[in-house]
Point group: D2
Chain length 146, copies 4
């Protein structure tokens, strides 16, 4: 099997960081952190990245929802040492935004992931184009962090 080599595996490639503490209940009978918990860590990174770079105000009537998620589980994560989730914007489409994440436990890159989020109108509950000032903020961030 092959893993996604287009997602960086070195800390230097990521410009937004979130620390996630592990919980005993994140573990499964294999005595390691369960894959489901890992998708919660990725969402923590994503929520931080979107909050920081995009800054969607609450009750603005629009949001970003996850449309596609890819996760490569490279190494086991084990309780209890906290992990660091690195995130970066990868590219923007008309109604979507692709971002990359890597989870490190100590120096080891244990997980890489790609998320595609779509802009979402919370009234119609359908995908939409982002407001212009948000599209501009994303373009500016992508230009500055190629």
């Amino acid at each position: 099997m092959t893993t996604d080599k287009t997602i960086p595996r070195d800390r230097a490639a990521y410009d937004f960081w979130t620390t996630v503490t592990l919980r005993y209940s994140d573990q499964d009978p294999m005595q390691h952190i369960n894959n489901v918990a890992i998708t919660a860590f990725l969402e923590s990174g994503r929520a931080g990245l979107i909050g920081e770079i995009i800054g969607i105000p609450e009750k603005s009537g629009f949001a970003m929802v996850l449309a596609r998620l890819t996760v490569d589980y490279l190494y086991e994560i084990t309780f209890p040492q906290a992990v660091d989730v690195g995130g970066r914007l990868a590219r923007a489409g008309g109604r979507s935004l692709t971002s990359h994440y890597a989870i490190f436990q100590g120096e080891r890159c244990c997980v890489v992931s790609e998320s595609v989020n779509v802009f979402f109108d919370t009234k119609t509950r359908r995908s939409t184009e982002p407001p212009e000032h948000i599209a501009d903020r994303i373009s500016a961030h992508l230009s500055a962090n190629p």
Copy 2:
């Protein structure tokens, strides 16, 4: 953005089914089922499929661990109606097994997903080839369900 069209979206394509009841806490502030909970539903389907088709005995010294997960979130899932998770084997590699899943709420296919599991030696905690009788059982199932 594009979604994975190689994963079937009709019930007829799946031969193993698992019902998953929804929990209030699966929901998030968007008033729908959170993407993290959905990966737990997929794991329920996967555990069922692997248990049924492969039947790994406990304490056999080997297991299957998730190496790669792809999820396309096509439609929102909303509390409280239970979902059905359809599963099927897609293909086998020397040390890995690829399977497909679709989650239905009522008649609507809300999620499709591909998992790659690797055979895993629980003592060395590394990937391994499966015992011959298990490789045979997988081949037989794939031949019978092309």
Copy 3:
């Protein structure tokens, strides 16, 4: 140690039932269902009970939030057999409602629990008295199911 003997442990004592399917990720390294997952099962029973008996309409501006939870873990619950959560109203206070739950796996009562919920104004985010028609419905239910 002592367990709460005021909460019934027989199926006949419960008048509202919710089935909860177990998930692989509900398990922990002890090879049993983790106590945290069990509180999600209890919440499933509670959401069902409150929905059925009280029937709070969405966007009514009021809700019930959990104020106090007591759980006695009597026997291990093990993957994968689904559990049944029995629920019953126990008593009502001016701003609160106490309910009892028992979780059965097969014929065994594995968990008993008491919840105290408070009526909650979603605008002020403070406890409140329930609307009269809801207080009446609760009184009627308690009279009919002593």
Copy 4:
């Protein structure tokens, strides 16, 4: 309704601390941290406390399992500020150990909780008395931290 006043609500009363980062998926449709996630935070505190004070070696054939949990939810916890879980031993029985926890978000005590754990033989899967050196360690800790 009444809350448990025997569990301290000031930081000074706790001698073991665990920081827990919040996750987007810990939230529910009420726009606050769900009660189920809070029991995972409590378990994080408990795992830390038991690891630190008691130090059960893996594969020792014995463990501590949760027998009884009481949680008073005093104030809402909201995403995303991390919480601090304070823990302390309260008292020991022949086969059980009672501990207290308080969860703080900033300066506010949002949750207090009491846990009763029992010593557990992982082979028979029944409660047991702790090995003497562990009973001694607990007595010493309780004497030093009355």
